[in-house]
């Protein structure tokens, strides 16, 4: 919308909202959700996801009580569903940080409408992710051993282990995402505090909004802090998935020991995360009538990001294969043949199909704007990215240097139950969030509405 004559029509940002949206109408539209009774279909959806979650939690309890022998993991496949799910969920989370931090630094104002939801998804996804290493340690009540604290064994944690780097990276990522999200919520909570009629709700919002009063001097520090946080979170999000990839790349397992892993993992994380954001946003904008705020344009740009990331994934796969071939290492050659040919060859082919071939449909503008195609692609990407981690972890492990210990891994029902349970947990949290807190960062959207800023800075 920036009236820059030098920019060709096709490259100009279209209006970020459909129809007339004023700050007051925005508040009325978005902040009313927490105060109205949710519709029947919301309760039905919640019942479904909550039952999935309950099954998952019960199976986690069973695992903890009995021991992780109830999973399919066995030598040499010591890492399987647990670590696949961990990497998968951490990756889903990265889209939120990308949208809220990296696009903020690039001054992409379209991010303002979807940032809140994407950030919430980050937090929920990291919660799901954190669950898996925790139960995989087998005795989660001793998980505090992961942190370096003075103890009677006089022993420190192994600071040279990528697994410990992971502990620091993921816990930092969670705390920073939570704070970033909460800081963004404060002005919206203040709006809710001042518009609610219910004294009980007012009390909660008053406490949560910390007495925010919108003073210009406060905004000045707030904007500076937000900018700094965005810059720091950008570095953080790149580091977190790099560290996750170190869990593999720093080891000597053929198929894992590769220098391309950090950028390849980061690209995959953003890819899977955007797909999940698209799925959730389509449902949200349809069921909550937010079409005027989350426009076709928003979905189209996100689909473009998915397409770009899909091309990056294709490059990564080719580069990985080339590196393996060029290494002249027979073990590596063997593992890469297993990726597409062996017992689990179907998983490798499915990964390539879902992550590389299917998203190419998004080259067409009609597909980028069609619910059917974008949901189809996003679901394919979600499945494909889960199987990509399956390929990397299980196939690399099941046949390594020692043929006498080769083993065909078979997941058990408990493995599947916990996987689907984590989806239940994620969507339960998403559903609750959608009806309890402002789903759109109203303050940030008000900031970029036409005429929101004094004219001499150019209306955005």
């Amino acid at each position: 919308m920036r009236a820059d004559a030098a920019v060709p029509e096709a490259l100009r940002t279209p209006p970020l909202t459909d129809g007339a949206v004023t700050p007051a109408s925005l508040d009325e539209q978005v902040l009313r959700f927490p105060e109205t009774k949710p519709p029947r279909k919301w309760f039905l959806a919640l019942a479904f996801t909550a039952s999935l979650m309950t099954v998952g939690l019960a199976l986690i309890g069973y695992t903890i009580y009995t021991g992780i022998g109830v999973w399919g993991n066995n030598r040499p496949v010591f890492w399987a569903f647990d670590i696949i799910n961990f990497v998968f969920w951490v990756g889903i989370g990265h889209a939120g940080t990308l949208i809220s931090a990296i696009l903020f630094l690039f001054r992409k104002t379209w991010r303002n409408a979807i940032a809140r939801f994407a950030e919430a998804m980050t937090i929920f996804a990291v919660m799901c992710a954190g669950l898996f290493p925790l139960i995989h340690v087998g005795r989660p009540w001793l998980a505090f051993w992961l942190f370096p604290y003075p103890n009677q064994r006089a022993l420190w944690t192994n600071f040279r282990s990528p697994l410990l780097w992971d502990v620091f990276a993921v816990s930092t990522y969670f705390s920073v995402s939570l704070m970033f999200w909460y800081l963004g919520l404060i002005p919206d909570l203040a709006s809710m505090r001042d518009r609610t009629q219910s004294p009980f709700r007012r009390k909660i919002y008053t406490v949560l909004s910390l007495g925010w009063r919108g003073a210009a001097s406060h905004w000045s520090h707030y904007e500076k802090a937000y900018l700094l946080l965005a810059g720091l979170a950008t570095g953080l999000v790149l580091s977190v998935h790099s560290v996750v990839s170190f869990d593999f790349a720093v080891s000597l397992v053929p198929g894992w020991h590769m220098t391309i892993f950090p950028p390849y993992f980061v690209a995959g994380a953003i890819f899977a995360g955007f797909a999940m954001v698209v799925i959730v946003l389509v449902v949200v904008r349809e069921t909550m009538n937010l079409k005027n705020l989350i426009t076709d344009f928003h979905l189209e740009v996100m689909n473009k990001v998915i397409l770009g990331m899909s091309c990056l994934m294709a490059y990564s796969y080719l580069m990985e294969g080339f590196t393996a071939w060029y290494s002249m290492n027979p073990y590596l050659h063997h593992v890469f043949r297993q990726y597409v040919g062996g017992t689990y060859g179907w998983a490798g082919l499915l990964t390539i199909c879902c992550n590389v071939l299917i998203p190419q449909i998004l080259w067409f503008r009609r597909a980028r704007r069609s619910y059917f195609w974008m949901i189809f692609v996003s679901v394919a990407v979600t499945v494909g990215m889960w199987f990509e981690r399956f390929v990397i972890i299980v196939i690399s492990l099941h046949q390594d240097y020692l043929p006498s210990s080769w083993h065909v891994y078979k997941p058990t029902l408990v493995d599947f139950g916990i996987l689907f349970g984590s989806f239940g947990l994620f969507f339960t949290l998403v559903l609750v969030f959608a009806r309890v807190l402002p789903v759109i960062a109203t303050t940030e959207v008000k900031m970029v509405l036409p005429g929101a800023q004094p004219g001499r800075h150019g209306a955005p």
Binding site: A24, A216, L236
Partner: protein, 390 residues
């Protein structure tokens, strides 16, 4: 009670006069106009950050960036030094063939801790240090305009801040600047926090917190670790002496040896009667290690009754009625090695068998040692001349 009406009077206690504006452009223009009039501290309240308002109000640049830089640096350095100290100095340990101070491996955690320090400085520094939040007592929060401000209106306020403040003058200036609504905010009633009610609540809160913390600690330290599954590793299928066990069909933890087998070091004792043992010869050589072993076994098992010197004076109290044999007695000195050995295996009079406590080697060593004791207590002049050599 100070109300909006009385506050506006000359000499009334007004905290601020608030003027509402419709658009961001209006408030920016008004702020620029009012800034130099010196009617009070000029502040704006807006639903979102308005570009250019900082400059119009004369705000300084936020010092957050510098704070973040310093704290990020402190985080990075402390994480790095801590890792170097823990792995290189406090408990040097070689992992993966790397030197204890291989600093390259400490970079990822250095980076994460740096980001953690920097982000919490940015977030909490902004809230707590710069903006002094949470603060629920600001007069604007109880004003009539706050609902409009957090929705879509822009407020300029002239606030009493040091110096003289004339609410009527401020109101006139705001109206002149184009404010659509003007509100006078009374100064809040001063309230002392040290009322009896406050103290009572405080004591109650501290007491409740102590109770909760105490029970939580008790639960975490005493109860939680002994609940299943936390104790599953203690509760393993294993054999305990004298305890039943499900591992064997007969349900006993301790099993008799299978028939026809001999445990290592437990050859059956062949003499059927003490008389037959007389002919047994001591198979062990009379060397220093054997005598040391005999001494140790004697002092452990025999000396308590027979005395350290073998003189039959027990170290037990007088109430111990059995009269242990005096090993220095002529009759015993003249016994063959085999007979003494037999007494150890079979026991004699009140003395039980010591076979379960002493291995075959131990028993023969004890026999050697008893001979040493006997010779030492009955030394001849000849022995003295030989200087203790055999």
């Amino acid at each position: 009670m100070v109300t909006a009406e009385t506050a506006a009077e000359p000499g009334g206690k007004a905290f601020a006069v608030l003027g509402l504006f419709e658009t961001a452009e209006d408030i920016l223009a008004a702020a620029q106009g009012l800034r130099d009039k010196g009617l009070g501290r000029l502040e704006a309240y807006t639903p979102y950050p308005v570009h250019g308002l900082d400059a119009a109000l004369g705000h300084r640049r936020s010092p957050l960036a510098g704070m973040v830089l310093v704290m990020g640096f402190i985080g990075a350095v402390s994480a790095f030094l801590f890792q170097m100290w823990a792995t290189g100095i406090d408990y040097p340990i070689v992992v993966g063939g790397k030197a204890p101070m291989a600093w390259q491996a400490f970079i990822p955690i250095l980076f994460e801790v740096m980001v953690l320090f920097a982000t919490f400085t940015a977030g909490l520094g902004m809230l707590l240090l710069m903006n002094r939040l949470p603060f629920y007592g600001h007069p604007i929060l109880s004003s009539a305009s706050i609902g409009k401000i957090t929705r879509d209106r822009f407020a300029l306020s002239l606030e009493a801040y040091g110096g003289a403040f004339d609410a009527r003058e401020a109101r006139a200036a705001l109206e002149e600047a184009g404010a659509t609504e003007v509100e006078v905010l009374p100064a809040p009633e001063p309230s002392g926090p040290w009322s009896a009610n406050y103290l009572l609540k405080g004591f109650f809160a501290v007491g409740a917190a102590c109770l909760v913390a105490g029970y939580a600690t008790y639960w975490a330290v005493k109860l939680f670790p002994v609940l299943p599954p936390m104790v599953h590793m203690e509760d393993q299928p294993k054999l305990d002496p004298q305890e039943p066990s499900a591992l064997f069909r007969d349900g006993r933890g301790m099993q008799s040896p299978p028939s026809g087998t001999v445990a290592r070091g437990f050859l059956p004792y062949s003499p059927a009667a003490p008389e037959e043992a007389a002919g047994l010869a001591n198979p062990l050589p009379r060397t220093e290690p054997v005598l040391d072993r005999g001494q140790k076994a004697y002092r452990t098992h025999c000396a308590v009754c027979h005395g350290v010197l073998g003189d039959g004076v027990p170290t037990l109290t007088a109430s111990y009625g059995a009269k242990p044999a005096n090993l220095q007695a002529r009759a015993i000195r003249e016994l063959s090695d085999g007979k003494i050995y037999d007494a150890i295996v079979r026991g004699k009079n009140a003395m039980p068998s010591y076979a379960p406590h002493l291995s075959v080697e131990d028993r023969w060593s004890v026999v050697h040692y008893v001979r040493v004791l006997q010779r030492a207590q009955n030394a001849t002049d000849e022995d003295l001349e030989r200087g203790g050599r055999p």
